[in-house]
Amino acid sequence: MSAPVVGDRLAVVEVAAISREKLREFAVASGDDNPVHLDDEAARRGGLDGVVTHGMLVMAHLGRLVTSWPAAGELRSFKARFTAPTPVGSRVTCGGKVVSVEAGTARLQVAAVREDGVTVARGEAVVEVRV
């Protein structure tokens, strides 16, 4: 495996349409049972159009994108901003690129995009580079 270079793109992670069942399963496994992820009426009372995906489920997929990068060793840091809602039923594509490499670590810029092209999350991770 060759050393990572700035500009290298990560292999895309495709997330299949996120179902209500998936959101219930994530609510239980993660511990976040906020009704806006489970009940349309609650979501509307919260100012949304209907049930939306947990930002943290999207961030978890971005996490897989990062940790499955072949050059990724230990994860040092990972952050994300949630920039748009991900309605139930959305498909999401997670992608990223290497933006810097120094002192045995690489900084990756990642994003999750809905099937209509809207970016729902942007993030950054710093990983130790596997030698």
Partner: protein, 149 residues
């Protein structure tokens, strides 16, 4: 409505919990994480870990599950209207099933933007295993102020 500035600096009651192995496996499954160290204890031990490893984002929900909405309600907010704006993790050590974890959290900041229409709450959390500092979390929540909309 404005969140009272006295909340800034408020230290929350520490949360202490242990994560069962099956819970780590269930979380890995739902997010599609196939790395064996997250669902197979033998693979985790072969890789040098004491038990299955928590995936990188799992700590967030574990604390939320215990704390619930108490802080938001105390601040006078409707939890349904609070959105998760940002989340960050800084990792010092790996975290594994079965360990006693202690979450120490503080309301780090409360601020307004867009002429007061948006209110933000920042909570910072340090997670410990005994005296070992494992992970730092920082969450930013955002509330759209109904009165100024």
């Amino acid at each position: 409505m404005m969140i009272a500035p006295e909340f800034v600096g408020k230290r929350l009651e520490p949360v202490v919990l242990r994560v069962p192995r099956e819970r780590v496996v269930a979380f890995a499954r739902v997010i599609g994480e196939v790395g064996a160290v997250h669902w197979d204890v033998e693979a985790a031990r072969a890789a040098g870990y004491p038990d299955v490893v928590l995936p990188p984002t799992m700590l967030f929900g574990l604390e939320l599950e215990v704390r619930g909405e108490e802080l938001l309600v105390e601040m006078g907010l409707d939890p349904l209207r609070v959105l998760h704006a940002e989340q960050s993790f800084t990792y010092h050590r790996s975290v594994h099933a079965g360990e006693e974890l202690r979450f120490e959290s503080v309301v780090a900041d409360v601020y307004r933007r867009m002429g007061g229409r948006l209110e933000f709450v920042v909570q910072e959390t340090a997670v410990y295993r005994g005296g070992e500092h494992l992970v730092d979390l920082r969450q930013v929540l955002v509330i759209e102020d109904e009165e100024t909309v």
